[in-house]
Symmetry: D2
């Protein structure tokens, strides 16, 4: 039982830049979130990229697929922006890897009050540990098969489709 956590950016990992007043990417906060979670399961953290999911191109998705392919761990959590999480999940599903791949993210950045990020990270880690091989999206306290979910942008939630 071991786990790989791949950071790709997204709202989860946005941080405030006091000089510009913008939310930007810096060093991923995921390692500190994992320390806070006091996990003892062996977990590899891989900071693959740090981009908004709206900026994600095919080439980025190929990098994510390659990271999943070369992963020695068969339980993989991918922290990803919510807007195109579904597209990345679909591409990974087509790769047909014999691994349990769970994409998660956050509606509120980890470092902002009342963020859902830490809950989602915990939820996704358990989904990766217990789920069958396949590709899933874990948001809003639910594990969705990749093909049966869409983001409702007006409501800010993922729902079955």
């Amino acid at each position: 039982m071991s786990l790989r956590i791949i950071a790709t950016g997204g709202t989860f990992d946005k941080q405030y830049d006091p000089l510009t007043g913008q939310l930007v990417f810096g060093d991923s906060i995921i390692p500190s979130a994992l320390r806070r979670a006091r996990i003892t399961v062996p977990a590899m953290f891989e900071p693959l990229m740090a981009i908004d999911s709206l900026d994600m191109q095919d080439s980025h998705r190929q990098q994510i697929r390659a990271a999943c392919e070369r992963s020695d761990e068969t339980q993989i959590v991918i922290v990803h922006g919510t807007d195109t999480m579904r597209e990345t999940a679909e591409m990974l599903a087509h790769a047909q890897l014999a691994k349990t791949i769970v994409l998660t993210g956050a509606m509120v950045p980890y470092r902002i009050d009342d963020s859902d990020a830490l809950f989602n990270l915990g939820f996704a880690c358990a989904a990766a540990a217990l789920g069958a091989a396949g590709v899933y999206i874990a948001m809003n306290g639910r594990v969705f098969p990749w093909h049966a979910v869409r983001k409702n942008r007006d409501a800010g939630v993922f729902e079955s489709c």
Copy 2:
């Protein structure tokens, strides 16, 4: 797919009383944690008791068993103090309910900086959703079968045994 979350107290739910300087129990913070998590899965919250797990007697454990028995939901998360989580899990296992029961808690109260509580709650909710019927302890990023875990009090972690 629906979920019951039963609060029994424990470190997870301890809150600071400014008048006495003590960590005490008040209204459970779990409902606000669930709102923060933005869960959309139907979830019943049941504040059953609010005690330290070191103060938990057989009568309390019978209450917990009764709550699990009468639960319409077959996915149950119990938020519990860590010190006697194992004993409660054992008692529940002997009740042989056809439900997935996951006990979790926290090493640091939810309302204190760097708490593991929200991660653990997310982790336990996914474990309850995906696990087979049985009784589990979900702590430190791991799902332990009830009979194969102990709390290492010196290290402050749960480990296999």
Copy 3:
């Protein structure tokens, strides 16, 4: 001894909108900050406007001056964006009110980790209580007379000039 706290917006009061991913203005968080501070001094809170200080026009500054003029309280804290705090201070100084007016703000929004907002609010409240009549900028743990300060935007600090 009584105090008026006037909100005008600025970084201090920015909040995250999960639907747009932007930092925006909503209801001011200052009332909850004051409850948290457990203040017992009589304090009037006046949510005058909620804008970025870069968007502040002369008409906005006239509103701020009018609010200071009509204030029954002679100790006034104005929570303001940092970028044009100096300009508003200068305009207020020219109004020559017999009041102690302290402008403060934040480099990191109140609701983001490691924000300086609560410190600055406390600092400004004491400066308003103890300072002589006049207009001041209170940032970075310092009380600057309005005419002797500038924001160093590269360093993100206020400094004497």
Copy 4:
């Protein structure tokens, strides 16, 4: 204009020990609070002791007096437990130092949600910068002369007397 901040312990600086479940003293959090506050005023931090103010003996108070006497800075903030803050203030007043000494503390530890600690620290720093020589207690958004204040333990606030 320079400042000395002396830590003596108290609720402000209490931290949670996951192994014992108690609030205890560790390394003071005041240096990180000052970084968070982005202060640029020269400030010396002196971790003098770390005790509950109910445990404070005459010998401790003599240490505090000695620290104030030898301080090159004439603006001094003392972070202190609230229960005997008044007694320490009285002792310091009798020492008749030509310095502005402001005692502050917190009703909720810095590292617990909704703590008043950061506000109080900011408030006390401004009071030390602007107050006349003398000994003051700064709590609840008010600057009290040392002899005209008591802690109302039932209400958890400082009030004039």
